[in-house]
Symmetry: C2
Subunit: 335 residues, 2 copies
């Protein structure tokens, strides 16, 4: 019965030490053939650098207690910072502010009425310089992606509303003749207002409400990296990641639909819309080290790249912290 | 500003209808070439059948309020049904039962002492026929996979303790010359005590505490499907799924480490250890229909297969319910 406890060093008790006992890496290697090519595995001394990047994407998770939820039609669709609630409280015919929440006047019983009345308030707040960076672009406010929006609000107000935003990200990769992975990395233009000079995916973007995610990523592949339509259509949906970050303005609970596109070895993406300075093809080891040890990538790209490494077996469950990474792919409300 | 609201049918307001506007499937198809082969997509009228299978794996999620947590060393490591707590309450020198929880006597301050004293109780409960199916195999009790076990308990008591159990599952698949997926499906022997006659993965098993997950799946590939070591080692770790089911005996919060192995077109797995009646290679469409419309697969295999379809782009985000499936891959405590 006490099998496993007899080892006086306590090792048999300790699952953490299984690597010392029988480990796949210790199985004798032999010559490689195409059919039985051993999968590439990253040799990372620890997964803690990856975990640090996940934490940086989720700095909003601890802010909930300081924010007031925004309820529309009985559904929680956002969160406000106290400073912004103060502004909204001056418009009691539109926003009802209580101790526990912010809601809309009950007369605003259609998406059209809500959108019109909220727009009126937001335009005043824009004129008062409370809301900056006006875009003249409407974002849907919903509690989940496939629901009908409860209203639309100006994109510049989205973070003030702490509303969910959706995006698409595509890992553009190649597998060379020896089975080794490389990832195409974009360098963002220094003239971009957001994240200038950061490393990025080959194609990514916000999710407009009049395109499907798949049509959107195909469009981004064409526009951002000059990938021909025929090739862009080979992008595969591979899931979604979610995270909740926060800025000085408000909460950002994001869901990113993720795609992989395996590009031919001879293909080179080209910047097209001026948003990318250049593309480079990096061995996956360099990508992994950059993610683990630097903040050179745009914050949310790290999450999508870690997800890529998990799905392609580049990181494995024999390493401590693996399940933390797996869980870390979807924090917050992935709906 | 009110762009998007002008459509009197309300469609532009409704993200659910993006498919009617611009959809990747409507992009003109042209002749297929290897480099630009369009990814295979399953044509499922709805994802609700998949969602139903996920629910069946998680029937334990609603039982928590009826169970008493088991705390060891300040960590929650399991849950008991009231009937089993009643039995434990007869051993106050080992188990302390309070209104809110069950814990161990504070004198049991090492894993060895806990294991020995709990074993004494469990052997008595076995002799009283409270615990059936004794295995003489010890399972580690931990709050998460990479932690040291707080104690070891007889495997037959694991579900009574509602403790986390870990397993490995491997999707054995092929991609044919036209880029279409097929999955090797196992038919479980009718003589197996658990899930006789159900459909199963090519290789799967419980996770013993003296093997790494990768070494374990390689062993299972060899033992269950006669996959030669050289080929078995090409199995790639691809993440983990988790779920919480419940039986008449107790809670089963499981974490499965998932692997994919792409098998050569000419390879045929062979049953070896008598647990499998036969293997069949099914087109992925047949697998998907079987998962969506039947309970022919062993319950937790459905989850691993849905995860496979999500990761390989066979299901995509343009379909309503996609994010519910993505989220459904990891219910309960995936740690």
């Amino acid at each position: 019965m006490l099998l496993g406890l007899s080892n006086s060093s306590g090792r048999a008790l300790c699952r953490r030490t299984f690597g010392k006992q029988v480990h796949s890496q210790s199985i004798k290697r032999s010559s490689r053939g195409a059919a039985t090519m051993e999968p590439q595995t990253l040799q990372m001394p620890s997964l803690s650098g990856f975990m640090q990047r996940i934490k940086e994407c989720n700095e909003g998770m601890e802010a909930f207690s300081t924010l007031k939820p925004f309820l529309v039609n009985g559904k929680k669709v956002g969160h406000f910072k106290p400073e912004f609630v103060e502004h909204l409280s001056h418009y009691p015919s539109v926003f009802h502010v209580s101790e526990s929440q912010v809601s809309l006047a009950s007369e605003l019983d259609t998406p059209e009425k809500r959108t019109a009345q909220v727009a009126r308030v937001l335009e005043e707040l824009r004129d008062k310089k409370v809301i900056g960076g006006w875009r003249n672009e409407l974002y849907p406010v919903t509690s989940s992606f496939y629901d009908k929006p409860e209203l639309l609000v100006e994109r510049a107000a989205a973070t003030h509303f702490g509303m969910k935003a959706y995006g698409v990200h595509c890992n553009g990769y190649v597998v060379d003749e020896t089975g080794r992975y490389k990832l195409w990395v974009a360098k963002r233009s220094m003239s971009k207002p957001n994240w200038p000079g950061k490393l990025d995916h080959i194609a990514a973007g916000g999710q407009p409400h009049n395109l499907s995610p798949t049509a959107n990523i195909i469009k981004e592949c064409e526009e951002e990296a000059s990938i021909p339509l025929e090739l862009a259509r080979t992008a595969k949906p591979v899931g979604a990641v979610s995270y909740t970050t926060i800025s000085s303005v408000g909460l950002k609970p994001d869901v990113l639909f993720t795609f992989d596109i395996q590009l031919p070895l001879g293909f080179t993406p080209k910047p097209q819309d001026g948003e990318v300075e250049y593309f480079e093809l990096w061995p996956i080891e360099r990508v992994a080290q950059t993610v683990a040890n630097t903040t050179d990538f745009k914050t949310n790209c790290n999450l999508v790249i870690i997800d890529f490494m998990l799905r392609h077996g580049l990181i494995g469950p024999d390493q401590e912290g693996y399940l933390d990474l797996v869980r870390g792919m979807r924090n917050g409300d992935c709906s």
